[in-house]
């Protein structure tokens, strides 16, 4: 907000004084680019090729690249329920996480005062233990003879034989819990920069607290909200640990199918095909989302 001084702006640097300076940005890019090429682009191409292998091949008889585009409709037909479930569970978990995460991030950023750092540590602390261990802990929390199920049965929110573990509810709760920090941290960063004086100005200009939230707080936290949403939704959609540990095959998501295609059934072409389908579906959702929110420039 500080006034700009036209005179104080440095003159643009003399264009391309020497070849060394012109190449500098590319040299700086080189290590990262090489890394990405070797460990992302090359495997990706390999995966794309694998998805087009002859589906009748196997690990023992060998695979042949036969440009079998038919793998895609076949895989989609066989596993569309798991695809649907992935997006449904991740979507519900995202809504739950937003309902909990936004107020949490707002409270830490604007209201926590000297407790701010402690609360932030609390958000991050679970990350110090393994994802797997945390999900196993949830298995205990949600177990049939655990305190939570007992309480819910007592207040008749669950029937006498009702359970949480091995239900879609357990999977969604697990997803919500495991990915919540990815939503909260970028949101916190955005809300922390929010100038309280803008909220006062809004209030001074006839905006009720709710209107101030809609017209000032929410738009100004949009970058963090979008980043957090993506960081939450993308891994949650591809996750298979929660469905594996907290659900049954009836709750399996597409990640579980890919996992078993690669590691159990050793059906590499199908695993690769499903991976590519998942990737395209997520990209489509993300682009659709970014178009709606109109903030392509943040990516």
């Amino acid at each position: 907000m500080s006034p700009r001084s036209e005179a104080g702006r440095p003159a643009s640097p003399p264009a391309a004084r020497s070849g060394r300076y012109r190449l500098l940005p590319y040299l700086l890019l080189l290590p990262g680019a090489a890394w990405l090429f070797l460990f992302f682009v090359v495997p990706l191409v390999q995966l794309a090729a694998a998805s087009l292998y002859d589906p009748t091949g196997s690990l023992s008889t060998g695979y042949a690249l036969t440009w079998a585009f038919g793998n895609y409709p076949t895989a989609l037909q066989a596993y569309w329920p798991q695809f649907g479930r992935s997006f449904l569970y991740a979507g519900i978990a995202l809504v739950l996480a937003l309902l909990m995460g936004y107020p949490l991030a707002y409270a830490i950023a604007q209201k926590a005062g000297r407790w701010k750092n402690l609360l932030l540590v609390c958000v991050i602390a679970p990350m110090f233990t393994s994802f797997l261990v945390r999900t196993l802990a949830w298995k205990t929390i949600l177990s049939d003879n655990g305190a939570l199920v007992g309480l819910l049965r007592d207040v008749h929110l669950l029937g006498p034989d009702g359970r949480l573990l091995a239900t879609p509810v357990a999977v969604v709760l697990g997803l919500t819990y495991n990915f919540l920090p990815f939503l909260v941290l970028p949101l916190y960063a955005s809300l922390e920069r929010l100038d309280r004086r803008l909220l006062e100005a809004s209030s001074d200009l006839y905006a009720s607290p709710l209107t101030t939230f809609r017209r000032v707080t929410l738009p100004l936290s949009m970058p963090g909200l979008i980043a957090g949403t993506l960081l939450f939704f993308i891994p949650a959609t591809g996750d298979y640990i929660n469905a594996e540990l907290l659900g049954t095959p009836n709750e399996y998501m597409i990640g579980n199918v890919i996992d078993s295609a690669f590691l159990v059934r050793l059906d590499y072409p199908q695993g690769a095909t499903l991976s590519f389908l998942l990737m395209s579906a997520i990209l489509a959702v993300v682009f659709g989302y970014l178009r709606r929110t109109g903030t392509e420039e943040i990516l």
Binding site: P3, A201, Y206, T211
Partner: protein, 383 residues
Amino acid sequence: MARETPAGDLTLANLTKTFGTFTAVDDLSMTVPQGSFFALLGASGCGKTTTLRMVAGLEEPTSGQVLLGDRDVSRLRPYKRPVNTVFQSYALFPHLDVFENVAFGLRRRGIRSVAGPVRQMLTLVQLDGYERHRPAQLSGGQQQRVALARALINHPQVLLLDEPLGALDVKLRRQMQIELKRIQTEVGITFVHVTHDQEEAMTMADTVAVMNAGRIEQLGAPAEIYEFPATAFVADFLGQSNLIAGDVSGGSGDDLLVTAHGTRFSVPSARSRTDQGPVFLGVRPEKLHLAGAAVQVPAGNQYLEGTIIDASYLGVSTQYLLRTGWGTELSVFVANSGAQQRFAVGERAVAYWHPQHAFLLGRRADEADGTMPVRNEPVGASP
């Protein structure tokens, strides 16, 4: 407190705000007439911004009332008050362009046709053509004017300005002072302007309230306050003053007699804030004149002799510092009109003034002479 104020006057009644043990605003009562340009002047930490925030509703009074006309708004939320603020930091919404910033208040009140009023307001603050600019693309002066337009467009009963010119450079500030005054005259809305800059307050305001430690020291027209300050604080804060410690030693007719450092002076009773006990005899530096010797002092004037210890040539005037026999330094401004005799450092001189130009203020017995040194020279201690 009289309640029969005409609708629209802003009245503060026994307004108090404490933060813990610190009293920011201390039992403050005053009335700002509708349509006036009112300045709250004081050093930082004197409670002027807190007062303003209580009028805006951004701070809740510990006790006391804020009245708009007959209506007690003390407990109303800020968005329910017909009052708008121009914030010190401008607080423009960075995600909205100039047009939407200015239209914000209208839209929140459900007014549909905002384009006309917004353009009219942008013309008033001379920002036509900037509708689609973002605040970050504007200079400080332009941002300031957007903030003003954003508040004024709502036609508030009272417009609050919290040091709105503080962030601008001197030249721009001067220009905005004139512009603000023009706009206030044009729209006729009550302006309450908080500032620590006495020149700014005097240039713009019809009425100035000088605040100190949460209280109003003096309230009145700028000339009135300047010519006849009520307290030593005001005399020092508003311009420079030579304050000579003395005691009232009697009266003669309409005059009071004051003895200071063994010399007797007289001050008209009408220009005295007290008529007994320890006092300060005050004379503004520009009301003092210099002469080479006592015999040159015109009849009816009073004088002090001393040595010139500093002379600063400032173009329009020369500021002299005269040290009296007992060590007090007096500041004297002499206009460089060409008619006055020039004095060199080390020369003996006589500072004289007409009793009508002096004023008498109450003094605590332990307070010594107070003069505003021209620069950071030590003030001479009385023996």
